[in-house]
């Protein structure tokens, strides 16, 4: 074939092969990060100035022993029932000032969700997986209650709103709007989860 004019076309047939090679390299060497987890705030080192007196009935004690058994409010409990028990405690509302609570208003349980505290204590020998499961259930109890209130007020889940609020890609006008809503729900059921020092026996 006689050449007419201009440079000959570069053969791009092997381009796909090169690209495939790179693609396979990246597929093999990279892993999608699994970075999600339970967020917790640790208590600051300095103790608060004045001693706060908390009524015993406003504290929900959860003890985990080294065999992974749970002692909730001095009774042995199965892990599967923990979420329900924690929810019952949180929304008990004994003093009647909580109009969104659906609890039994039991005099011997918590006064108000804003006063209710969950206290978690575990043994040094407890397995980490048990510890995480318990934490998960307690956070789940809060989330379930918050979701319920959120559904009632705004027609969507609290966890969903919070995730959108915390996502840095959310536009700021949407975020400002969500901030109020998130705050409102958080005030109804503030997360008061305290962890005692671990014991070694």
């Amino acid at each position: 074939m006689p050449r007419r004019k201009g440079a000959p076309e570069v053969n791009a047939g092997s381009m796909a092969d090169i690209a495939f090679l790179l693609l396979i390299f990246f597929l093999v060497t990279t892993t999608i990060e699994t970075d999600a987890g339970l967020d917790r705030m640790l208590p600051p080192m300095e103790p608060p100035e004045e001693d706060v007196v908390i009524k015993q009935k406003n504290i929900f004690t959860v003890n985990i022993n080294k065999n992974g058994q749970l002692l909730v409010e001095d009774e042995l409990m199965d892990l599967k029932n923990l979420r329900k028990a924690a929810m019952d405690f949180l929304e008990n509302g004994a003093d009647g000032s909580c109009n969104y609570c659906k609890g039994r208003k039991d005099e011997s349980s918590s006064d108000n969700p804003t006063k209710a505290i969950i206290s978690l204590k575990n043994d040094r020998e407890t397995k980490y997986s048990t510890y995480i499961t318990v934490q998960n259930e307690l956070v789940g109890a809060y989330n379930d209650l918050r979701n319920r209130e959120s559904q009632k007020s705004f027609g969507r889940d609290f966890t969903d709103m919070e995730a959108e609020y915390l996502n840095p890609e959310t536009p700021s006008n949407v975020r400002d709007d969500l901030k109020d809503k998130v705050k409102q729900i958080q005030d109804k059921f503030p997360q008061k989860l305290s962890e005692a020092e671990t014991t070694s026996n």
């Binding site: 990246f26 970075d35 339970l38 967020d39 917790r40 705030m41």
Partner: protein, 159 residues
């Protein structure tokens, strides 16, 4: 070719000119969504499952601490007691606070208040080690922690 299946017209060859484009698109997709695993794990790191998780959004605001039994190939040297891995080396509990502070110093000042410590702890580890680490973190006033987990049914942890 001309008398292929004795048809009236010849079949044109399928153009593969756009194949590189498609492959490049895939390539760029994978390049952007994945991150290269930056540290080699010296410890077993089988994280527990949890359902109520929050995503750790920004990678630059995270300090990672790994805890677990030494990896099988190191177990003969290091034994089977849980070890703490900071960056690329194994360390003791007392070194945690210095490490965390040095990592914190590397971050730009504007984001230092938002730094979260991600605790990547193996399922089999006892809570004692974890609470020692938390105690160290409290001493240096880094209070935001994240117990990094996989997303999944929490009750599967118990098996």
């Amino acid at each position: 070719m001309r008398n292929f299946r004795n048809n009236k017209s010849k079949l044109p060859a399928i153009s593969t000119a756009s194949l590189p484009d498609i492959v490049f698109m895939l390539l760029f997709f994978f390049m952007t969504v994945t991150t290269i695993k930056d540290n080699t794990l010296l410890v077993d790191n089988n994280l527990p499952n949890a359902t109520e998780v929050k995503k750790l959004e920004k990678k630059d605001r995270i300090i990672e601490i790994f805890v677990g039994k030494p990896a099988p190939e190191l177990a003969s040297v290091l034994g089977s007691e849980p070890k703490i891995q900071l960056d690329d080396r194994l360390a003791s509990v007392t070194e945690v606070s210095t490490y965390v502070l040095s990592e914190l110093a590397k971050k730009p000042e504007s984001i230092r208040n938002y730094v979260t410590v991600s605790l990547k702890v193996d399922k089999e580890v006892k809570v004692g080690v974890v609470s020692d680490i938390k105690e160290e973190l409290r001493k240096v006033n880094l209070l935001k922690v994240n117990y990094t987990t996989y997303e999944g049914d929490a009750f599967r942890n118990m098996q």
